[in-house]
């Protein structure tokens, strides 16, 4: 059985919940209270992940940390279509990886501003916000040109990839850190598309989309 060490309000845990749901993978969740109790910094959890970070995924003997790594594992192991993480195609695989790294930068900036404002973590919220805007500008530009080429997703895949899943949560939660998305119309359209992927589930702070056409 797969076990996800999970905190419901964490965007990083949400990435994993999203992919598990989209791939229809049965799993158990083990709740770790990130805030205010900071269970992830306590001994019991440090024994599972010495970095003291959520999420962690256990699948049999395998214990994995880092949401991007977990997405890579789940897609490679369980996605029979091979579309979510296109192992067969080096160039496409590389663009997926590139945007996985970008997702991590979004977590640090947009996610950081949310932690500072919502959960009172000692981070420089203004610095996080300006970095997030810099990244959002890059992504919006990218997605605008993707749309022109009839590409719906962040990487050059024909269907959604784990890069979309990795970028989505902290973009959707950015307003909690005071980062408006009004200047990023292509990002806003892409978030609607992600919400319409079969198997999509919301999290507190993220509303589902209505039906597409």
């Amino acid at each position: 059985m797969i076990t996800l060490y999970d905190y419901e309000l964490s965007g990083n845990c949400y990435k994993i919940r999203l992919l598990l749901s989209m791939l229809g993978i049965r799993h158990e969740k083990h709740a770790i209270e990130f805030y205010p109790a900071a269970e992830h910094r306590k001994e019991a959890f440090l024994a599972i992940n010495p970095l003291g970070e959520l999420p962690v995924l256990q699948d049999g003997e395998l214990t994995l940390r880092d949401s991007q790594a977990i997405l890579v594992y789940l897609a490679s192991e369980y996605d029979t279509s091979g579309n979510w993480y296109p192992l067969q195609d080096p160039r496409t695989l590389a663009t997926v990886t590139q945007w996985l790294c970008f997702a991590n930068a979004i977590t640090a900036s947009a996610g950081g501003a949310r932690l500072a404002d919502g959960f009172f973590h000692p981070l420089d919220a203004d610095a996080c916000r300006s970095e997030a805007h810099r990244l959002f500008r890059v992504l919006d530009e990218h997605l605008w040109f993707q749309e022109r080429e009839r590409q719906d997703w962040v990487a050059t895949t024909a269907s959604p990839s784990i890069a979309d899943i990795a970028c989505f949560p902290y973009i959707m939660l950015s307003e909690e850190g005071g980062i408006s998305r009004i200047d990023y119309p292509a990002i806003r359209r892409w978030t609607d598309r992600v919400k319409r992927i079969p198997g999509f589930i919301p999290m507190p702070g993220v509303f589902p989309a209505g039906p597409g056409l």
């Binding site: 309000l9 709740a31 507190p204």
Partner: protein, 285 residues
């Protein structure tokens, strides 16, 4: 947004700062209240002292939280007698920052109509959207608002609930920035669960929302209770942060109430009568 507060009503109120159990002992902590930076510190005996610069401020420790007042307290903190009942589980659920005024957050707390749309599958679910007629009164002696006979269909009314019920609610607003609700207890029909929302106005358009859950529930762990409440609060957050304007407009013609909003109408009128300024857009004279 951090001009110091000059509203005598807000300055004379008790305001919550933090859950006492969350304060690390013997180290200075910092927060903001009504645009003012404050420092507080808990000693080894769990006594909390609050300072504005070097000036010590009045302190009340109640309902799991530390409260202070920037001016002269107009009256003691409101009563919450259930907190002292021996068989209750009193849980401080979390303190979260929200970009909204305190009165908007209170109104949201008093609102049942949003349950199916915002707390989908938990506190409500479509098509069960009806808000039935309920009673509201302003108790002049206690100077608090009471809404009774509130009923709403809930698929999962609390952490310890299994299956849908018609939940009964009673709402109290004993303080301009605090509200308490009493609702059917899924595990004991003769009792009511209590959920209180205490808002700390950081500035006019930002709050720290503090939640107290006081329930009759021998099954759920503290963790379950806290996580349930955190989920509910976090579902409200994107709504509250997308309300325009962020301060609550007291002009009756700013928004369109329906019968379900009776309690909000009384609340706005009550704030108007108090002459409260902080966190609201006063009605034109």
């Amino acid at each position: 947004m951090s001009t110091p507060c000059s509203d005598p009503v807000a300055l004379g109120l008790w305001h919550p700062l933090a859950a006492i159990e969350d304060i690390p002992p013997s180290s200075d902590q910092h927060t903001r209240l009504l645009g003012q930076a404050l420092r507080y510190r808990k000693d080894a005996g769990n006594q909390v002292a609050v300072f504005d610069g070097d000036r010590p401020l009045p302190v009340t420790q109640a309902y799991g939280y530390v409260w202070t007042c920037l001016g002269t307290p107009a009256r003691p903190l409101f009563d919450l007698p259930e907190y002292a009942e021996p068989d209750r589980r009193n849980v401080c659920a979390a303190t979260v920052g929200v970009r909204v005024s305190a009165p908007r957050a209170v109104e949201n707390f008093l609102d049942m109509g949003h349950f199916p749309f915002v707390h989908t599958g938990i506190l409500g679910v479509e098509p069960h959207t009806e808000v039935r007629e309920y009673q509201v009164e302003l108790n002049e002696d206690k100077d608090e608002i009471l809404a009774t006979e509130c009923i709403f269909y809930q698929p999962q009314a609390a952490a310890g609930a299994s299956g849908g019920i018609m939940a009964d609610y009673i709402y109290r607003v004993p303080h301009p920035y605090c509200s308490v609700l009493y609702k059917s207890c899924p595990t004991d029909e003769s009792r009511l669960d209590v959920i209180a929302l205490f808002l700390q106005p950081v500035d006019e358009e930002t709050v720290r929302a503090h939640a107290l859950v006081s329930v009759i529930d021998t099954q759920s762990s503290d963790l379950d209770i806290r996580l349930f409440q955190q989920t509910i609060f976090s579902q409200d957050k994107p709504i509250l942060e997308n309300q325009l304007p962020k301060r609550l407009p007291l002009d009756p013609r700013a928004e369109t109430p329906i019968r379900a909003d009776k309690v909000a109408i009384v609340y706005r009128r009550w704030l108007r009568a108090k002459g409260l300024q902080y966190g609201v857009i006063p009605a034109a004279a």
